[in-house]
């Protein structure tokens, strides 16, 4: 009835362990099927792999170069090594170069891999040319989300979530080249003047807080953002009848962020602007509201 046709299986070896996996699977899937893992940054479970960050590289017997595991398809008899010195050196360098060029302090995955592979980004400092580290001020041009491009590692996840794999708005792309490359809605426009429809699906997939809800951005600045004190409660969106599951991130009896669970087949983690940002009314009129203290006790539109 549906297209769940059983694909023929392919046998590969991951670190001397035999794995049978449907053909057209990726090496990453084979590695995970073998109970192992490799680091990933540009890879995201609901997006198609594009293999740009190169942190997932592995050695494949017979291959001259290292191979990105997220995007390479399995072939019968492939022999894969996930933890060789060459692989580890390469991953360490990828992480160090990211740390040298942007602020990765709010990128938990980069932090974790840095520790795991013993990254020492300072050793690249002598080679850093003028302009290598472009420090860009956060762009705050709307009330919903902030672009803090100084944290952007150009993993393209946001571009893909905005494009045909997700929202299909095609509002952002990578503009410029080399050190000037950046995520942009075109002509450096403010977001409200662009094709952006503020679904926030780009920030849902951003691994570094380069794209971040304004609430979270402001609470970080004020030093009040504290994930250890947050509970996450799953509920259903209050707006239209689609029934998107929402994860409410709650700190001190206030919603501070809304996300969608990736495993929900209805949303696959994608929401619309009302679902992701339209929760503010719940706190209308209560002390230290999400806007200002001077908020009216009821929404303006209702009086």
């Amino acid at each position: 009835m549906t297209r769940e046709v059983q694909a023929p299986l392919v046998t590969v070896e991951v670190d001397d362990q035999r794995v049978e996996i449907p053909e057209a699977s990726t090496l990453l899937q084979a590695i995970r099927a073998a109970g192992k893992d490799v680091p990933t940054l540009c890879y995201h479970p609901v997006l198609e792999p594009i293999g740009v960050c190169r942190v997932c590289v592995v050695e494949v017997e017979g291959s001259r170069t290292l191979v990105p595991a997220c995007i390479r398809r399995v072939e019968p008899g492939m022999r894969v090594r996930t933890e060789t010195p060459r692989v580890e050196l390469s991953r360490r360098m990828v992480v160090e170069l990211l740390q040298t060029s942007v602020d990765t302090s709010l990128a938990p995955d980069v932090q974790r891999y840095a520790a795991e592979y013993g990254a020492r980004p300072e050793r690249w400092q002598p080679f850093a040319r003028e302009g290598f580290r472009t420090r860009r001020a956060p762009k705050v041009d709307n009330d919903l989300y902030v672009r803090d491009l100084d944290r952007c590692i150009l993993c393209y996840r946001c571009v893909r979530a905005c494009g045909e794999e997700g929202q299909s708005s095609f509002a952002i792309a990578v503009a410029g080249r080399g050190l000037g490359a950046r995520i942009d809605p075109g002509f450096d426009l403010p977001l409200p003047d662009s094709a952006c429809v503020f679904c926030g699906n780009c920030l849902a997939v951003c691994p570094t807080e380069a794209l971040v809800p304004k609430t979270q951005f402001e609470m970080r600045r004020a030093g009040t953002w504290d994930e250890r004190r947050q509970q996450v409660v799953t509920t259903t969106c209050p707006y239209c009848g689609v029934g998107c599951k929402l994860n409410l991130h709650v700190q001190d009896n206030r919603i501070v962020k809304v996300t969608a669970p990736l495993e929900d087949p209805i949303t696959r983690g994608f929401l619309c602007v009302k679902g992701r940002f339209g929760w503010t009314y719940v706190h209308a009129g209560t002390a230290s509201g999400p806007g200002s203290e001077a908020e009216p006790s009821t929404p303006a539109g209702t009086l």
Partner: protein, 551 residues
């Protein structure tokens, strides 16, 4: 549909169907996440055909747009039906084995030639024919609609005109083929499921069926009135006649959201007693004798809602409600106690378990299973039942299981509010992406567009009435007048204009709309109001005062 009030398919079927006929819906803005499933279907090769008087943002993704005139959908559907019959494209086996009343349907659609349909609907005949052919010959096809179909004085007939097409072609009761009303609010479907309809008890069970009633009476220990109650429009008529003098409104803002708002306001003011239970002191609540401040049901209390694919899913308490706001269930139980009934439900799950006892559709849905499966689609009669992906598979059993599905012949009638020299434009209403209904929930979150009502107007009409883009205009109907800002673009046809009801404080759009309603559903004809539009002359403002801090 055919006895059960719910969409027949699931969202995932949109990804694997061959044709999606999106009729009277701008799902791109009103159901954005569902539209992503449709787009996935399009990428998998499905055709998307949009039927809408406006060139909406959904149309931007469509293979074809049928620019139907407001309120002429029945003529369009009947012409498609006639073409399918005449071209021999109908599913004869299905019509013969699973339906009844085909002869009367064939007779009823016979006058709707392509030429006549083009004259009525404004849709070029080639497009009608091509769409009919595609729909009939697609291996799988779905019709999805929203309020463009149901907010008409002949809404129920309009829905029948679509279900007739599905019966004619066998596009119902199969994976990827069906009929789907997309629900506009997170629990419209669940409200119906729970019997918040004048003629139904929990689980769509007919209140006028003595056996059904007896079962509920035993469970509830009371007598249930044997006749169906009033739907919304009938309630207003009863208020007009003084038959209905007290009202208890829960979570609704009818003074802003119902048609002919001036009349509604008067009817509410004339009530002897009004109770409103809401999160906010809405304009409706301001008229109340008693206001019960309520908790937000989706994040301050426990319970379930039902989605457009019949999926019952949990809402959970994440926050303590502010001040004296209380859970709806607590308020209702306290009220019952004061009225002399001891309702003893310790929590929402206890209420839900009673639903399961009384409604066969929901019987297998324990809270534990809803949790484990992330929601279950009704019908789910037993605890080992996975829930149904699509409805009416029985129509494909031979012999057909249960009653045959009936064709219901329908005829085109123009909208009630007539366009004439004094009211030369037709106003249709709808939603915009960033806002929701009367704006109570969306006024505060910082939407990146102005909080302002626009009148969308075709350039030809704008020119005719001397209106420029951005001018303030007065919009008047036979019932009242409001102000808005003109938005001139050709997404509407000449003669048509568009507004929302998102900003009732400044622009109470429903002052204009007509309360002619469908006799069966009680839904008013929000989609068709005859109006005239006049430019409001700009006040002369001294140049130096135009902008603060300007040089």
């Amino acid at each position: 549909m055919f006895g059960a009030g719910g969409g027949t398919n699931s969202y995932r079927e949109m990804e694997e169907t061959n044709l999606i006929l999106l009729w009277g819906s701008n799902a791109r803005e009103t159901h954005p996440v569902m539209f992503l499933h449709m787009l996935k279907g399009v990428r998998n090769g499905a055709r998307l055909v949009v039927v809408d008087p406006r060139r909406t943002s959904s149309v931007a993704f469509a293979h074809r747009w049928l620019p139907v005139r407001v309120g002429t959908d029945i003529a369009l559907a009947n012409a498609m039906g006639r073409y399918i019959i005449h071209e021999g494209l109908l599913n004869e086996e299905f019509v013969r084995e699973a339906t009844e009343g085909f002869a009367r349907y064939r007779e009823a659609v016979e006058p709707y030639t392509l030429e006549r349909a083009e004259a009525i609907t404004g849709v070029p005949r080639e497009l009608i024919a091509a769409t009919a052919r595609e729909y009939a010959t697609a291996p799988r096809a779905m019709i999805c609609w929203t309020l463009g179909i149901t907010e008409h004085h002949n809404a129920v007939d309009t829905v029948f005109s679509l279900t007739n097409l599905a019966l004619l072609t066998g596009h119902v009761g199969r994976y990827g083929s069906g009929l789907n009303p997309l629900r506009g609010q997170n629990n419209v479907q669940g409200g119906g499921d729970m019997g918040a309809l004048p003629n139904r008890l929990v689980g769509f069970q007919n209140v006028e069926d003595p056996e059904v009633r007896a079962r509920f009476e035993r469970a509830w220990g009371c007598t249930i009135p044997p006749k169906a109650g009033w739907h919304l429009t009938a309630m207003y008529d009863a208020m007009e006649k003084g038959l209905l003098r007290g009202l208890y409104v829960i979570g609704e803002n009818p003074v802003c959201s119902d048609a002919n708002a001036t009349r509604i306001l008067r009817l509410f003011q004339e009530l002897e007693f009004l109770v409103v239970q809401d999160l906010f002191l809405t304009p409706t609540a301001e008229l109340a004798n008693v206001v019960f401040p309520a908790a937000a049901a989706w994040c301050e209390s426990e319970g379930t809602v039902t989605s457009s694919e019949r999926r019952v899913q949990r809402v959970r308490k994440a926050l303590d409600p502010p001040g004296e706001a209380r859970d709806d269930l607590w308020i209702l139980q306290q009220l019952a106690r004061r009225l002399g009934r001891e309702w003893d439900y310790p929590d929402a799950e206890a209420v839900w378990n009673e639903v399961r006892e009384l409604s066969p559709l929901h019987r297998g849905m324990s809270y534990r299973r809803l949790e484990e499966l992330g929601g279950i689609q009704w019908p789910c009669p037993t605890e080992d039942h996975p829930g149904e992906l699509f409805l009416h598979g029985r129509l494909w059993k031979r012999p057909v299981e249960g009653p045959r599905a009936p064709f219901v012949p329908t005829h085109y009638e123009p909208p009630v509010d007539e366009v004439n020299e004094d009211y030369p434009l037709l106003l249709t209403t709808g939603r915009r992406l960033y806002f929701f209904n009367t704006g109570v929930q969306t006024a505060l979150y910082g939407a990146p567009v102005p909080q302002e009502e626009y009148l969308v107007l075709h350039p030809r009409d704008a020119g005719r009435y001397g209106i420029a883009h951005g001018d303030r205009v007065r919009v008047s109907s036979r019932r009242g007048s409001v102000e808005a800002t003109a938005w001139v673009e050709s997404t509407v046809a000449p003669g048509l204009c568009f507004m929302t009801l998102h900003f009732p404080e400044k622009t109470p759009t429903n002052v204009l709309t007509v309360d002619a309603a469908d006799p069966k559903s009680g839904t008013a004809e929000f989609k068709a109001t005859a109006v005239r539009v006049e430019r409001i002359p700009r006040e002369r403002v001294p140049a130096e005062a135009t902008r603060e801090g300007a040089p």
